[in-house]
């Protein structure tokens, strides 16, 4: 009987039968599988990236206002924009684009728009260049003067109003909007609106505002700041308003901005919003 060979002997492996496959041989199929998998991953990744790139190019080359009618592009844009919205926009506009009337942040799910008519191209322009954000191409034509301050307006001379005059203007707005109010005070308020306050200049003589400069409609019962109470309106008239929306032209890529515009457009158009936005929030404020 031959003496036993120690397992850790350098000669131990040589004592294995010749027909038993060595480690590399035994793992051969795994190497092949690994290579195959890697090729599949690379091919899949490349195909995916190429597809994404093609969609991004399509999105950029399309007429922005026509994107919502192209279901593929629309779906791609919304999916592309959602994480960006969460990162850059949700802190102000809310997780569900519902805005915040306490801070004058518009409800983006509402169909009413302060600037423009809410077309994708217009929304895109606002995201790119902002509102009072220091971008020369942005919306920056007017602010709401602070009529309860010694110098209400920085851009040109406007006379301050007296407390009673402000209250009269508020009555005028409430009565014009179909709410109960003091009609005599409203009559006085209408004169202030049309003369001393120069309110008509931005809000238009019919009080319906001017989307070209972001002057809100005052009789549609949609309020950017507060809920339309006399106190809220008094604050706006006496202390002034001038909300800011950042300009993202330097921060985000053009395709991301276009995708965001499509997302916001979808949210503000009810039927599209049902499928576009993850779960639309309550419509409580003013459309941006």
């Amino acid at each position: 009987m031959p003496p036993p060979v120690a397992e850790n002997s350098p000669l131990a492996s040589d004592l294995q039968p010749r027909d038993r496959p060595r480690f590399r041989d035994r793992q051969g199929w795994k190497v092949w599988a690994g290579i195959g998998l890697a090729i599949l991953i690379v091919a899949g990744g490349t195909t995916y990236l190429a597809g994404q790139s093609t969609m991004r190019a399509r999105l950029m080359r399309a007429d922005p206002d026509a994107v919502p009618q192209d279901s593929d592009l629309n779906r791609f844009a919304i999916a592309y924009a959602q994480p960006v919205y969460d990162q850059y926009c949700a802190s102000c506009h809310g997780d569900h684009l519902q805005g915040n009337s306490r801070d004058g942040v518009p409800d983006l799910t509402h169909p009413a728009w302060l600037y423009g008519e809410g077309r994708v191209a217009q929304i895109e322009h606002t995201i790119l260049h902002g509102i009072r954000a220091g971008d020369p191409k942005g919306w920056n034509l007017a602010d709401m003067p602070a009529f309860g301050q010694p110098n209400p307006y920085k851009r040109y001379k406007v006379e301050p109003l007296e407390p009673g005059e402000i209250r009269d203007v508020i009555e005028f707005l409430l009565v014009s909007g179909g709410k109960p109010g003091d009609r005599a005070a409203a009559a006085r308020g209408s004169k202030i609106f049309a003369a001393k306050g120069q309110c008509f200049d931005c809000h238009s003589p019919d009080l319906q505002g001017d989307a070209a400069i972001g002057a809100p409609n005052l009789i549609d019962d949609i309020w950017l700041y507060g809920a339309g109470s006399s106190e809220d309106i008094y604050d706006s008239i006496s202390r002034g308003r001038g909300g800011i929306s950042p300009a993202f032209a330097q921060e985000l890529s053009p395709v991301t901005i276009r995708a965001l515009a499509v997302l916001v457009y979808a949210a503000s158009h009810q039927e599209a919003a049902k499928t576009a936005v993850r779960s639309p929030g309550p419509s409580t404020g003013t459309g941006g």
């Binding site: 041989d25 954000a133 220091g134 993202f248």
Partner: protein
């Protein structure tokens, strides 16, 4: 021959000096020099490809492909599609989708023309000579600071801190309704006038009707033109003048001030209603705090930018202005530091 010897004899051919035969290209069990070289070459080609892609697509490199976000490149400077769309809508006054192809091409041609002229203007150094261009550049740089500030929204904690540090700015504007009575210099002056007004004040405090007091002491009530009774504090300050306004601030409803001598005579004020400024809560003024915060940040960044530019610039000022300029700068720095120190909690 024992087992050990047998094993050595079997092992000997494997350890012979001749190299093992090379395996086939796809035989991963054996070393294959051709495969090694192919893998090496493949790796090198992929590396070069990645480097080349990065090199030729980086910003500033020449490309002959117009990226999808641009409508044209003029000497490699892009004309953005978004600008093209905005320009088309502005010029035509209708949505981009409604613009015909010739209309779009016309706008594109105009934009190309503009870009060419801008580039030529830069070559001619218009920013160095043309006042309008310089003004526009200064405004653009100033505004860029706001853009940097606004894209980074402050959190509630930052805003709350700013609010606490500037609480005085967040209060309702006080209002006053009052009677400003004057004993004109032409009627009486000196100690007599002060005595008369003290009697008039006493009478008012004793609830004598205002009209009776006016008639009895020969007074005149000053009513600002086109103004109603109730006025904001700032407006009353303008109407009353600083000295008289300071006296009225402490008056409660129905109080009568001590006589105050002014250039036009002696005044007393009877306060009808004094609604003092009330501090506003953070929640109520949050939007205003945000705007003020942004403006304050803008100012801070502007100053910092300017300081940085000054520090890195080589500014030489003529001898006849150098000393005065330096003194002025020191004074301005000291002045700017004052509010910052006083605003510390």
């Amino acid at each position: 021959m024992n087992v050990h010897e047998a094993v050595r004899q079997d092992a000997a051919p494997a350890e012979s000096t001749s190299p093992p035969a090379a395996g086939g290209f796809w035989d991963f069990k054996r070393v294959n020099p051709v495969r090694s070289m192919v893998c090496f070459g493949l790796g090198a080609a992929i590396g070069l490809g990645i480097a080349g892609f990065g090199l030729f697509t980086a910003k500033g490199t020449v490309t002959h492909v117009v990226p999808p976000e641009n409508v044209a490149l003029v000497n490699q400077r892009p004309i953005l599609r978004t600008d093209f769309i905005a320009q088309t809508e502005t010029e035509l006054g209708k949505p981009f989708g409604e613009a015909t192809a010739p209309e779009r091409l016309k706008v594109l041609d105009e934009m190309l023309r503009e870009e060419l002229f801008v580039q030529r203007g830069l070559e001619l150094d218009f920013p160095g000579t043309d006042p309008d261009t310089r003004t526009a550049l200064v405004a653009a740089v100033e505004q860029q600071v706001v853009a940097d500030v606004t894209t980074h929204q402050p959190g509630d904690a930052e805003l709350q801190k700013y609010f606490e540090e500037n609480r005085a700015n967040y209060a309702t504007e006080g209002t006053m309704a009052l009677h400003n009575l004057l004993l004109p210099k032409t009627n009486s002056s000196g100690p007599d006038a002060m005595g008369t007004m003290q009697q008039a004040a006493a009478a008012l405090r004793a609830h004598t009707p205002l009209d009776d007091v006016v008639k009895t002491y020969g007074l005149r009530e000053l009513v600002p033109e086109h103004a109603s009774d109730e006025q904001f504090y700032f407006a009353q300050r303008i109407h009353l003048g600083d000295a008289l306004y300071e006296r009225t601030l402490t008056l409660n409803d129905g109080d009568v001030s001590e006589p105050v001598a002014a250039q036009d005579g002696v005044h007393i004020v009877q306060m009808v209603k004094n609604i003092k400024p009330l501090p506003l809560t953070f929640d109520r003024v949050r939007s205003q705090v945000l705007n003020d915060y942004v403006m304050a940040e803008k100012k801070r960044l502007e100053d910092a930018d300017l300081q940085y530019l000054r520090d890195k610039a080589d500014i030489l000022i003529a001898d006849d202005y150098a000393a005065a300029y330096e003194k002025n700068q020191v004074e301005k720095s000291a002045e700017a530091a004052k509010p910052a120190e006083s605003s510390k909690p």
